[in-house]
Amino acid sequence: MNTPVFPVGQHLRKRRSQSVAFFVFTLLSYLIVLIFFVILGFILYKGASVISWDFLTQAPEDGMTAGGIFPAIVGTLLLMLGSAVVSFPIGIMSGIYMNEYASKGWVVKFIRLMTNNLSGVPSIVFGLFGMALFVKYLGFGDSILAGSLTLGLLSLPLIIRTTEEALKDIPDGIREGSLALGATKLQTIWKVVLPMGMPRIITGLILSLGRVSGETAPILFTCAAYFFPQLPTSILDQCMALPYHLYVISTSGTDIEAQQPIAYGTALVLIVIVLVINLLAGLLRKYFEKRLKIK
């Protein structure tokens, strides 16, 4: 038998296996994107018919089978605000400490390890912890205060990490320039480093708000009320929240059939919040990237 000098068949096989493999990967990828659009489209389709001005501005009625979700929207916004008050300052300060002050060594390594671990702690464990510490031990009871503190701690790692990364990318020459002009370390950080890192820090903050808006497990035992139609008047009140509301009306209640449309509406509102937040963060990133490039 004669074997050809140039392995023509091998070349063909090579090309064929490549096109088959790439075709499969492309197909699977588009399939996933399709699934994604099915999820989104389905909820959009079912929810859009429920959404109305009244739905967004009325309290639930008739054992939550009618009416709107206004208290839940307000509750979620309050929790976002409360958690921001807790996590923004601590998170940014912690990030500054990690990048600017801490001596590179085991301290930074240890803190980073702990921060990464904290970000991997399941949200239900945060719920347990918040219940034990804030609700029971410190005696806040089921309240917006306890819920905000729990959610704030939950979003800390994300903020610390984005702050640290944002500051890390600022070249040392800029710091040295400022110090050489006679500025103190604090002045350098405040006037030079922070403003330059701000865009990315803000993006991180916005994304952390998005995460907080959808968390259910941490507020299950620290804050969320099954039904609390009036608006909360103090931070020691319970409140309703969108994700918890979606959970209860889709799994329990007096009349699950009648609650179904409200559940779709609530899910849609939740998705829209996340969508807007992601869009905002993305636009911000793009805007600042463009500005930095021009500079």
Partner: protein
Amino acid sequence: MRKLVEKGVKWLLTLSGFVTSLVILLIIGFLFTEGAGLFRKKIIEEGYVLALNKENPVRTMTAEQIKAVFDEDVTSWKDLGGPDLAITTFRLEDVEKYFTEEELGAQYEYAGEKIAALVDANPGMVAFVPESMIPENAELNFIEDSNISPKDVFVGAEWFPTATPSSLFGMWPLLAGTLWVSFFAILFALPFGLSIAIYMAEIAPSKVRDVFKPLIELLNGIPSVVYGFFGLTIIVPLLQQVFGLPVGESGLAGSIVLAIMALPTIVTVAEDAMRNCPRSLREASLALGASKWQTVSKVVIPSSMSSIASGIVLGIGRAVGETMAVLMVTGNAAVIPHSILEPLRTIPATIAAELGEAPAGGAHYQALFMLGVILFFITFFINLCVEYISSRNKAKNR
């Protein structure tokens, strides 16, 4: 003055730098103190005793035996090391079967004596009654109460936290449920996740990639309760029809929902890893005449394998700790699953479902905190693995 401010700010920053470490310590501390209380609890419900006839030689029973006796699964004292005698159980609710209201008195003031006499007359009877009801001079024997043992909790096969006279806190079914669901979730997510990662990193034109990337990020941002709701309204009924199940809520439904949720993590990490594969490696492979696919499969993927592995481990961590979506679609049956099509229950879902009903400070409440401790350490361990893998990567790349 300015120096003082500098110092003060530095202290403040240092302090906030240690907040996360402090939180971890607090989590461990609080979960442990609440959870460890479980092992100081008695197996028989607080304030109650199990009274036996004085002839009966049986003195000790495990929590599982007590439950079996009162469920009438065990019907002879012989099985418990006693005489060959049928067991009759007696609960306080049964009192009216044996006595009239007059005999018991208006305030049940004679009930204690009557029950003592009843147990005295029936050699095979075991009575579950409040300790305070039994008259002091009654000649009865009592089952010796012991503390709940860690062995019963960690390898116990039954989770019946609200059973009386003694609850069972065997965590094995919950642990098994968690691992099953997470395992299958990763099994489903892995082929899809890697395909998308390869597609986005190697095949897709940059325009398509610019569309896919934010979509994947968005998928990551959707709250878990929305996924749970989607699973409940679409996947659960679908599975019920396809497999002809009595209930659609099953481990499989949980795995599918979790797989969708774990996708973004795997895709993002794997894609980053492949993009960071050194250009020189690729070019060397292509220069040797390898096709693009050969380069990807034989060079790029193996060289970024450990980063991909850390992404997979990270995805497992997510899946293990996920609460709401799993709670909504798995059907919450605390049994050791034999098939993925059966309802099962995970550790986080159990905590979320039961903590609201468990009285604070009780054994059930503490058992749920113990579950939290276990969950915390599972994810802690997973995170350490990720850290280890990625630190080794960094060392290798240097």
